[in-house]
Symmetry: C2
Subunit: 223 residues, 2 copies
Amino acid sequence: MKTRDKIILASLDLFNEQGERNVTTNHIAAYLAISPGNLYYHFRNKSDIIYEIFLEYEKLVDYYLQIPDDRPLRLEDLTFYLESVFDGLWSYRFFHRDLEFLLDSDPRLRIDYRAFTNRCLEAIQKIFEGLTAGGVIVAQDPSLRAAMSLNVWLVITNWMAFLKTAHGAVDLSSNLSLTELKQGIYQVLTLEIPYLTPEYREPVMTLREKYRPALPGDEWVGV
Amino acid sequence: MKTRDKIILASLDLFNEQGERNVTTNHIAAYLAISPGNLYYHFRNKSDIIYEIFLEYEKLVDYYLQIPDDRPLRLEDLTFYLESVFDGLWSYRFFHRDLEFLLDSDPRLRIDYRAFTNRCLEAIQKIFEGLTAGGVIVAQDPSLRAAMSLNVWLVITNWMAFLKTAHGAVDLSSNLSLTELKQGIYQVLTLEIPYLTPEYREPVMTLREKYRPALPGDEWVGV
DNA sequence: ATTATCTATAGATCTATAGATAATGC
DNA sequence: ATTATCTATAGATCTATAGATAATGC
């Protein structure tokens, strides 16, 4: 593998494990056992590495969120989209953590990320439309659908931060698992409950149960 | 005013304006025209300042989120709680931005913040219960109410990050206003629409309209 | 010849402390 | 006497580059 690609991969790993803020170009070079000079030969600075990582993330999500508009969507489609999105969030989990700082440091990233968000919001709306056509959820006013989609996006992108901050108080070491992350799907499906058609109510509730947090009881209030 | 208090206030201002990550103890001292040594006489380090600020934030929110359980809640109560919470978020807006890093750097803060989150989630549930007693929203299964409350919390605490990242792409300088922030109330009320009693549907929709984002159209998808 | 890599280092911070000096409160 | 403040600085990073050296591709 080329050094340039190694740098990207190692950076992603280190960022995910330790947080972007805690990882310097020195750390990345040391981790790869290359010289800092070598790293700077391939990238002008840390921002450039992050931007490359973002482009991969973007590509991944865009790939999974191609919503067909020539056919109605079924429950399996929804499951697929949710699973894919949370897989993506997991693989690039450092990204949303320091998002504001990253966007402030790199105008390119800022512009691209904004467009990316809008594409995701559009995709969520398309999914709602497709599910309506498929008889899973009832039709909604476009303005309500837009506001709902935004709420879905807010829950999806911030579920991990919630887990990391409200979760395991004492045991810092206990890292999150992908399974825990996917409990976010439970929360997303919660948003959709009121809009389900009668015939899909039970199937969706059953699906939702699969993601229900199986926690020691005191995890968060009332669950 | 005592220097110690000045340091706390100045830090809060600088953190809110520039982000905690971009503000060092040197910056704080320079801003106050005191020596770094003087700052370190009053605080052991930056974490200690942040912890003090958190205690204030906590006190403020706890004060506003005292939910009476001896009487039903009305729509005005809900408005008050929402306004208060968003005011609090605004005054301490740096806090949620770098939350994960802050909690990782300070075990005290980590433990306290976790308890704080749980108190907030409890308060949101109490508000739902009170509104149910007041005939504003219909009764819900406790498990659904818990999941809904969590979604409300996720939307509230992350609305600002959304605005900052998905909003104004090019004009970095354009800072957020409290008014924009309060459009988050529109999103929160969106979550509650399906659970409103018939007689409160119209009043809540009217209230919600007041917070509707009045944006140039292309702001975010479909709005 | 060009590309990749290393060594060495300048320059910029930042944190945190030691030790001196000034101000304040009995 | 005690509290508050300042000056000066050690020590630890980090970023980014210059310039030398090694490896690779025609």
